[in-house]
């Protein structure tokens, strides 16, 4: 028999607010909806409830009942983030998760005994996982989806309905608790049936002809039969968190102060899937309107909040929004962290996650476009290159044996120390070639030179046509000197060193 777990998070808008601003937890709190005179209280915290504030009353009435009430309008994005967080919390317990409705997540609880123990352990794991993401949830485990949901909603925290006891559990409940439509409920009331137990006592043979398909389903449920299978959802690709500010922010420090908890929430949610953050997108909501979208590239997936924050800071500093910021949204792409089996006898290596974190930190310091693994461009232009992602292959198994690639030659190779950009040069030419040059702080007579070698590439796009020389100056230094064949301009590419 399959077992279904249910995680129910009540008052989702209120919990969405509490996740973003946990310091409000000790105050009477209410979430409102609507505008102007039509603004109504949507849900209230326990403290506000004890002071008489109820959902559905007007905002003015709520404030008159509780002068210290903190009243907020929660943006839909934050509610959506909390809704996704409920599913993430459930995914932390079981990989098969279905969203029944916002705030209600169902999991396939079969086969989780080795991980979480018995059904109560599974329910406890669900509640603990929700608490880790800042949600106050109730959990239950039963033999069907509807029964598990009813148990979670009506229970006090953790509920377990043992197999075979579903009918007994449902018997005292009113028909409305089973999800009966008002028309069907009214019909049954006219028959003198008010509870699930009374409905289950009716013979099943005549239900269909009298109450239709809905009646049959309700009768089955009241009898403890809940055969609907779980429809698990796929893995999410992006995760979004955010916050709206009480007042507009202009300084980056204030922005980072809000950004850090948002990143922490994102990393906690990614952690539910065992994923790391492979990319970020910052969306800054500007005052009075508009938004700035700042993509944040990561050198490697990481879960280190400090590194992510440093990267975000460098991106914001490089591309300031240009207006006051009234809110932010952070969207993260999840990716599997790099896993590598470390060798017991081979060369000591570092865990990929540590390397990824170090790369993210370095990218935050120097800029993500200025760190990586050099990749030679497929070009005849000597100094052309690109920077790729640093992803070193695993070291060879045996010590000291060169890798599969080309081994280092047994001799030294004279290397160029490049000038970026090339130094514009003035060259005095003689009959046989260049005689003297001056470029930046480099100046002298040319004692010997080799060349020229003609390079003529890129005729179909950006043509490069130049002659290259290796020249030795009077002080003994050797430079690579090039002359553009079309403009005649000279420049120094680098020095042999």
């Amino acid at each position: 028999m399959s077992r279904i777990g249910c995680l129910f998070v009540p008052d989702l808008p209120l919990q969405a607010l509490s996740r973003v601003e946990p310091e409000l937890a000790d105050h009477p709190l209410a979430v409102a909806e609507g505008e102007g005179a039509r603004a109504r209280v949507r849900c209230v915290s326990l403290q506000a409830h004890t002071q008489g504030v109820r959902p559905g009353i007007s905002v003015g009435d709520a404030l008159s009942l509780s002068p210290g009430l903190i009243l907020r309008w929660v943006p839909q994005e934050l509610i959506e983030a909390a809704r996704e967080a409920v599913l993430d919390a459930a995914s932390n317990v079981s990989p098969r998760v279905e969203e029944l409705r916002p705030g209600v997540a169902l999991i396939d609880a079969s086969g989780l005994q080795k991980l979480h123990g018995d059904d109560r352990g599974v329910a406890a794991a669900l509640a603990a996982s929700a608490a880790k993401l800042g949600l106050d949830g109730r959990a239950a485990v039963a033999s069907g989806k509807k029964i598990a949901e009813i148990a979670a909603k009506r229970g006090s925290g953790l509920e377990v309905i043992p197999p075979g006891e579903e009918r007994a559990f449902l018997a005292p409940l009113p028909l409305a608790a089973l999800g009966a439509s008002s028309a069907l409920e009214e019909t049954l009331h006219r028959w003198g049936i008010g509870s699930a137990g009374e409905l289950a006592a009716l013979p099943a043979s005549g239900i269909g002809s009298r109450l239709g398909a809905e009646g049959v389903a309700l009768h089955g449920l009241a009898s403890g039969v809940d055969p609907e299978p779980l429809w698990p959802r796929g893995l999410p690709e992006t995760f979004e968190e955010g916050a709206d500010f009480d007042y507009e922010l202009a300084a980056i420090e204030g922005l980072l102060f809000v950004l850090r908890p948002a990143l922490e929430r994102l990393v906690d949610r990614l952690d539910c899937y065992g994923m790391s953050c492979s990319g970020l997108e910052l969306r800054l909501l500007l005052d009075p309107a508009g938004e700035a979208i700042l993509p944040v590239e990561l050198a490697a997936p990481t879960r280190e909040v400090a590194s992510l924050l440093s990267l975000c800071r460098s991106v914001i500093e490089r591309r300031p929004p240009g207006a006051m910021v009234r809110g932010l949204r952070v969207m993260a792409q999840g990716a599997a962290p790099r896993q590598e089996q470390l060798s017991l006898f081979g060369r000591p290596t570092v865990a990929p996650e540590k390397l990824a974190t170090a790369l993210a930190k370095v990218a935050a310091i120097v800029g993500d476009d200025r760190v990586g693994s050099p990749v030679l461009a497929d070009s005849h232009v000597y100094e052309s290159f690109t920077l790729g992602r640093f992803d070193p292959p695993p070291p060879p198994a045996s010590d000291g044996v060169p890798c599969a690639g080309e081994a280092a030659p047994g001799y030294g190779v004279a290397a160029l120390r490049l000038f970026r950009p090339p130094l514009p040069a003035e060259v005095r030419q003689g009959r046989d070639g260049p005689q003297a040059l001056r470029a930046g702080s480099v100046a002298g007579w040319i004692v010997t030179f080799a060349g020229p070698w003609r390079l003529d590439v890129g005729w179909h796009g950006e043509p490069i046509c130049r002659d290259a020389f290796d020249v030795e100056l009077s002080d003994g230094a050797v430079y690579r000197l090039v002359q553009d064949a079309r403009s005649g301009r000279w420049s120094l590419l680098g020095r042999y060193d």
Partner: protein, 280 residues
């Protein structure tokens, strides 16, 4: 006090450690006679041991860093086996040469063995194609291009602390140009503090990574060895229009060190890359 032949305690001074490193004779301490004074000598030896001024050859070998051969035999001899692991080695910025070829040679050797290396290139002068021609595996090479010395130090600090890189080359040499000469009016970069160097040295030691500082003469306070390169000769082959650049010779001097190595200098010859496929 019982000491076997050749296993006697030695003073931990620089010359003694050098002699040990080169497998020369260890200083031998004779067994004191039973005559008067043996008690004093015993106490003296005990005091020296306690203050770690006197160590056995085994202890000394344990203290000395492991080395990574550079593949250039004369240089390995000069450095007592190769680049010391977990130490800072300074390639002092001479006016004539910075020995970029030497750094690339070490990079090539280590990466071809399957190790990873990082270049923190403050000067933005790294030549990837030249490195590939020197035999470096670029996939195992991280190239970091900071725009200031402060960024370079911070980046090197992170890379060393990660423990992921066997070699970190910190290139702080000033460029030629965009004019080094015309830079008088430009704002001068602040000096790197001794505290920053100490932190780098500590990170290198903790992660057993070698830190090769190019052009950072202020690293002297923490470097275990200081090399200075000077250009001795450029070689050209042939005459007239068919002449080609054949390579250059460098003289590398070990100026000072804390490894107990004797000072010395070696000649290294580097061949032009254009001989094996380098396009101009």
């Amino acid at each position: 006090m019982e000491e076997d032949e050749g296993q006697g305690p030695v003073a931990a001074g620089s010359s003694a450690s050098a002699s040990l490193r080169l497998h020369a004779h260890a200083l031998r301490v004779e067994r004191p006679s039973a005559a008067a004074g043996s008690g004093n000598l015993g106490r003296l030896l005990e005091d020296l041991r306690r203050t770690r001024a006197l160590v056995s050859p085994q202890e000394l070998a344990h203290r000395l860093p492991a080395t990574a051969p550079t593949g250039l035999e004369p240089l390995d001899r000069l450095l007592g086996g190769g680049l010391p692991e977990g130490r800072v080695v300074e390639l002092a910025a001479g006016r004539e040469a910075l020995a970029t070829a030497l750094g690339l040679r070490i990079l090539a050797r280590l990466t071809s063995e399957g190790r990873t290396a990082a270049i923190v290139d403050r000067a933005d002068a790294f030549d990837p194609r030249g490195a590939a021609q020197a035999g470096a595996e670029l996939k195992r090479t991280l190239w970091c291009r900071p725009t200031s010395a402060r960024e370079a130090i911070r980046a090197a600090d992170v890379l060393l602390a990660s423990g992921a890189f066997s070699l970190v080359i910190l290139d702080l040499a000033q460029g030629h140009g965009a004019g080094a000469g015309a830079a008088q009016g430009k704002k001068r970069e602040p000096e790197i503090s001794q505290g920053a160097w100490l932190r780098l040295a500590r990170d290198a030691e903790a992660s057993r990574s070698s830190l090769l500082v190019v052009g950072g003469s202020v690293a002297a306070g923490v470097s275990s060895a200081s090399l200075k390169a000077s250009r001795s000769k450029a070689r050209f082959l042939g005459h007239g229009p068919g002449r080609i650049f054949d390579g250059l010779d460098l003289e590398i001097a070990l100026e000072r060190n804390r490894l107990g190595l004797p000072p010395g200098r070696v000649q290294l010859s580097f061949r032009s890359p254009s001989h094996f496929g380098g396009a101009p």
